[in-house]
C-alpha cells in the first residue's frame, strides 16, 4: 500500500501539512476496510473473546467506544497504564440448572481488550458510561497534548 501519495509541487503550497493529511486519510481508509474488522474478529478464536472497539479523537479528548452487550456495569474494568487503555471483565454464565443449550454463539467468560493511545491523556479525568450495551470511555488529553495557539506578543 502506498502511504504517501505523489504530490504535484504546484498544488501544494504547504507540502508538509498536506503530506500528513494524506497519510492520515490513507490510514483511516485502511482501518475502515472490512478486512480489518474481520481480522480483529478472528483473533477471538485464540484469545477468548475480544469486543469491537472504535477510537475517536477530537481537539481535547479521545473517545473509545466498545460494544459490550448484556454486561453488568460492575463486571467491566477499565485501566490505563503507560498510555495503553485496557478494558477487561467477565460475562458470567447464568445458572444452568435444568437447561439445555441448543445453540451457543455468544461469548461467555473473561475478555480483555487493549489499545495504545495515540496521545497522552489525563488519567485522573477519565470517565465512562455504559448504555444500551455500549461502553463509552472519554479520555481528556493531557495539557501538553492539546492543540495550542500561541499568540505573538
Amino acid at each position: 500500500m502506498n502511504l504517501i501519495r505523489y504530490q504535484a509541487p504546484d498544488l501544494a503550497p504547504w507540502p508538509a501539512l498536506d503530506r500528513w493529511s494524506n497519510l492520515r486519510d490513507e490510514l483511516n481508509s485502511f482501518f475502515d476496510m472490512p478486512f480489518w474488522s474481520s481480522f480483529s474478529r478472528t483473533s477471538q478464536l485464540f484469545t477468548g473473546w475480544s469486543p469491537a472497539l472504535d477510537l475517536y479523537e477530537s481537539g481535547d479528548h479521545l473517545v473509545a467506544v466498545v460494544e459490550l452487550p448484556g454486561m453488568r456495569k460492575e463486571d467491566i474494568e477499565i485501566s490505563l497504564h503507560d498510555g495503553t487503555l485496557t478494558i477487561s471483565g467477565e460475562r458470567k454464565r447464568e445458572n444452568t440448572n435444568g437447561e439445555t443449550a441448543q445453540r451457543t454463539e455468544r461469548h461467555v467468560g473473561t475478555f480483555r481488550r487493549s489499545i495504545t493511545l495515540p496521545t497522552r491523556v489525563d488519567a485522573s479525568k477519565v470517565s465512562a458510561t455504559y448504555q444500551d450495551g455500549i461502553l463509552k470511555v472519554t479520555l481528556p488529553k493531557a495539557e501538553e497534548a492539546k492543540p495550542k495557539q500561541i499568540q505573538v506578543s
Binding site: 473517545v63 467506544v65 448484556g70 443449550a101 455468544r106 448504555q131
Partner: protein, 123 residues
C-alpha cells in the same frame, strides 16, 4: 464517513439495506426456550420483532449517538442487525415475550399448552 452511513440507514430502500447477523444463543428450559441475541446500541424502539409463517424475525436498528471527532480506528460495523429463526410448531407464537437490556435481546418462547407433558389423574 459517519453521516454517509447514517443516511443510507434511514432511507426507505429496504431491499438494498445491508444487515449483519448478530450472535445468538438458544437455551431450552423446562417448558420453553430462551433466545438471546446481542444487539449493542439498539434501544427498545429500534427493535422490531415479527412472526410470520413460523418464521421469527428480529431487526435491530441502532441509534448510536454520534461521537464528535475523527475516527482513528474502527472495528464496529455500521449496519443494523437482522436475525431470523424458524420456530417449532410446538411454540405458542402468541405468548412470545421479549425484553432488551444493555443491548441484549431476550425472548422467551413458551411451548403451547397441548405439547406440555401432563399428568392425568385417575379418578
Amino acid at each position: 464517513m459517519n453521516s454517509l452511513t447514517r443516511e443510507t440507514r434511514e432511507s426507505d430502500r429496504v431491499q438494498a439495506e445491508q444487515f449483519i447477523t448478530p450472535p445468538a444463543s438458544v437455551t431450552e428450559i423446562g417448558d420453553g426456550y430462551v433466545l438471546e441475541i446481542e444487539m449493542p446500541g439498539v434501544k427498545k424502539d429500534g427493535l422490531e420483532i415479527s412472526v410470520e409463517n413460523n418464521e421469527l424475525t428480529l431487526i435491530g436498528r441502532r441509534s448510536l449517538s454520534a461521537v464528535e471527532g475523527t475516527l482513528l480506528h474502527r472495528e464496529s460495523r455500521p449496519e443494523n442487525f437482522r436475525r431470523a429463526f424458524e420456530i417449532d410448531p410446538s411454540i405458542a407464537a402468541d405468548k412470545i415475550g421479549a425484553k432488551i437490556d444493555q443491548g441484549l435481546v431476550t425472548l422467551t418462547l413458551p411451548k403451547a399448552e397441548h405439547v406440555k407433558p401432563r399428568k392425568i389423574t385417575v379418578c
